[in-house]
Amino acid sequence: MSASRGLSLWRLARAAPRTVSLAKPSYSAPRVLPLATQTLTYPSPRRLLSSQTNSDPPGFGSIPPRQEPESNQVSAEIPDSDATDDATSDPELTSDPEMTSDSDSSWSESSELDEPSVVLEAALGRVPALGWTPAALEEGARDMGLTHVVEDMFPRGGGELVDYFDTVCNSDLVEFLKQRAEEDGVKLLEEAVEHRLRMIIPHVNNWPQAMALKAFPVNAPTALENLGLLVDDMWYYAGDRSTDFSWYTKRGLLATIYTSTEVFMVQDTSVDFQETWKFLHRRMEDANTFGKASKEFQGLVSGGVDTFSAGLNAALNACGMKGR
């Protein structure tokens, strides 16, 4: 799998149209969150169990559509559809009083587990109380009427929950970006970062735990992949079609800005995180103003000599590591 992923990255860097999908975990279809992000409320798991399909808006253009994960229909909660199971040819058994327990009736009405993301979605509702832990997965499973044993399906526990959350938020961000595709590139980047970080607000109290989980070696590869895809999406919809090394420097720079703002955000206590957005604005201005990479950042030139060290300088400045 890593060889094909490396090949995909190489092809992506060389060819202009985005025809290659970097392998994404096959989680469920993205939800469309309301655009009024200031009043973002996290939908309850049961409300999400409605059929939603993942499809590009019509008339998107001649750019070949990116390979989205196969659209999984999350079907509505169905009361026991295995009615035939109960009318079994149970030769003996139900006559044996030991075997029937009063929990059987509740189980016969429980829903089916259509796909793993059903459990993850329900577990997200339990995260504020229980954190990004296997306990949240267990309680989420119980909420959906499933046996808690399904929590073993997620060996990385809280890390898988964080990964799912990131994937869903990234998909929602793509929907947001598609609707703003014509706007000024750099301004759109700042809005995109703000929009994406606002999705964390419902979980901001537990977010340091999620960040720590993402640093674990078992979770780090998928966390980095999600971050890479995120900044790639942002740059793509901001209009970047570069095919040279600046592809890497731009994305690396934006990733640095994103993560530094994220770190600032978890300790920000201002109203509506105003200080965070100001911090973000300052970092974006830094990237625009300082170093050779700034010209690439503004899209005025692409390529150029010595972009790597320039990009590195700008990244260090953005992190505030050069004594600013």
Partner: protein, 206 residues
């Protein structure tokens, strides 16, 4: 006899199976074709006695022999038609029993029927493919030594010749995994044990 044939490793395999299942107190676990009660005993110990363990075996003698073990429910029944209501157990295990069944798909469908949504199915079985590199030694051991051991210890050479042949006829691990997928299990994982002599399959009922 199991100890003789496998050199005692079968205990490790069973221990590994229960460790992978990780039973927690309060679960209901069904062990199919588990006449000796090995798995049931280990599951009960892991659950610290709280929870329910049911053993279902087709052979009445095994069930009668095992009834002395308390805290375990014993049932006589066929793996292809389990005498349990639908959605009644959290986990279903089968150790070294599934290769003796004529219709494996039926057994998988039954396991799916009795499992609650999200419940887990674990299967421990010999691999039909000898581990790479030691095929000749493995084949020689299987076809020459095991029937002789059976003849010497229990006087039933044919039974042990059948054992070895049934292992060879059993579907390879990948095929069993795809059969599990077809039967309605998701997240199917395959773990070879002892360099591939035995295999653990795990799936969740979806």
């Amino acid at each position: 006899m199991n100890d003789l044939m496998s050199g005692g490793i079968h205990r490790l395999w069973k221990r590994e199976m229960v460790a992978w299942l990780a039973p927690r107190p309060g679960m209901a676990v069904l062990d199919v074709a588990g006449g000796t009660g090995d798995i049931a005993r280990r599951v009960l110990a892991a659950m610290e006695g709280q929870g329910r363990v049911i053993v279902c075996d087709a052979s009445e003698q095994m069930v009668d022999a095992g009834r002395e073990r308390t805290c375990i429910d014993w049932l006589v029944g066929d793996a292809e038609a389990l005498p349990l209501p639908a959605r009644s157990v959290d986990a279903c295990t089968i150790a070294f029993g599934i290769r003796n069944l004529t219709r494996i798909e039926r057994a998988l469908a039954e396991a799916r029927r009795v499992l609650r949504p999200g419940g887990r199915f674990l299967c421990l079985e010999f691999s039909s493919r000898p581990p790479a590199g030691i095929e000749r030694l493995y084949n020689a051991y299987s076809f020459a030594v095991i029937p002789l051991l059976g003849a010497a210890v229990t006087g039933q050479r044919d039974a042990y010749a059948y054992l070895v042949e049934s292992i060879r006829r059993f579907p390879p691990p990948e095929l069993l995994a795809s059969m599990m997928g077809d039967a309605g299990f998701g997240g199917v994982r395959v773990r070879p044990l002892s360099a591939g002599i035995a295999t653990l399959h795990s799936g969740w009922r979806i």
